[in-house]
Amino acid sequence: MSRIKTPRKLSNPPIIRGFNPYGPLVDLTKTESVILHYEEFEAFKLCDYDHLTHHQASILMHISRPTFTRIYASARSKIAISFAEGRQIEVEGGKIYFESDWYHCNQCQSHFNNPDRMLQLTNCPLCGSEQIENAKQEDKSITDREEISMHLVCAHCGYDVNMQVINRYSKTHCPHCKRLMRGNSVLKNQI
C-alpha cells in the first residue's frame, strides 16, 4: 500500500497572483514565466518576511525541516532566476491546503468547519439554524491550532517577552506598547 501524502499547510493564500518585470530589455514574449508554488511562496515569506527560523517555519507548515529547507531553496532560486533573467513570476497552487475556520451552532451545539473559504457560512449544516458563531481559538481540540513558545522583542519599544504564539504569529501585538510585532520586530529564538 502506498503512503498517503499529507498536503502542506498554509496559513493564508498569497494576496498576489504573480509579478511582472519591467525595463527596456525585458521582453515577456520571449521568456517563459517562472512558476512559484504556493508552498514555495509561503516558505519564502515565513523566512524572509516573518523572520522565522527553518525549524519554526517547518512546524507551521506541518512538514519536516529538510523538506522545508528544500522548498525554501527552490523558492529563492526561482526568484533569483526571475530577477536575473527578467522573467515573469506566476504564483500557483501545489500540493497545499488552507486550514479551514471552525464554527459552533448554538442551537444543536455541533461544531463544523467551513470547507470553502470563498463562501460564507450562514447556517448550521445539521439543523439549519442561523445561530452560529466562530469556534473559540483556544478550543484546541476543535480548531487544532499549533502553539509555539517564542521569545519576542518589540522593535518599537524594545519590550522583551516570552509568549505563546498561535499560528498567526505575524499578528502578535506588543503587550507593552500595543503595536504590531511583525517583520523586523525581532523574533529572537524558540524556547
Binding site: 444543536c108 455541533s110 461544531h111
Partner: protein, 111 residues
C-alpha cells in the same frame, strides 16, 4: 449533495459512532434524490491509516459532508484539502434516523 454519517450499525435506529476511521458503518444520504446507502466500513479493523483510507473511499463516492463524533488530527488536513465539511456532534445519542430527518428538512428549505 452527499453526506456521510458514521454509524455503529447498518440500520436507521443505530446511534452515531463516535469514531470516524474505525466506525462500524457509513450511512450515505444523498439530498439530490433522497437515497440512503449503508456502507459497512471495510477499514474498521485496520491498525493503521483507517481514517485516511476511509476518506479515500468517501471522497471517491463524492461525499461532501461527514457527520461524526470527532475527527483525528491526521484526517482533518486531508478533509480540508478535499474541501469536505466536517460536522462534530455534541449530542452523540442521536440516531441516524433523526440526523437524516434534520438533513431532509434542510434540503426542503433550500430548494
Amino acid at each position: 449533495m452527499k453526506t456521510a454519517i458514521t454509524s455503529l450499525k447498518a440500520c436507521m435506529d443505530s446511534e452515531v459512532d463516535l469514531q470516524f476511521g474505525h466506525c462500524g458503518c457509513f450511512v450515505i444520504y444523498d439530498s439530490t434524490n433522497g437515497s440512503i446507502e449503508f456502507l459497512p466500513n471495510p477499514y474498521r479493523e485496520n491498525k493503521e491509516q483507517a481514517g485516511l483510507l476511509a476518506i479515500q473511499l468517501l471522497h471517491g463516492k463524492n461525499v461532501q459532508k461527514i457527520i461524526s463524533g470527532d475527527f483525528g488530527q491526521k484526517v482533518k488536513p486531508i478533509l480540508d484539502s478535499h474541501k469536505i465539511q466536517m460536522i462534530i456532534l455534541s449530542n452523540t445519542n442521536i440516531t441516524i434516523r433523526k440526523i437524516i430527518e434534520l438533513l431532509q428538512e434542510q434540503s426542503v428549505k433550500t430548494t
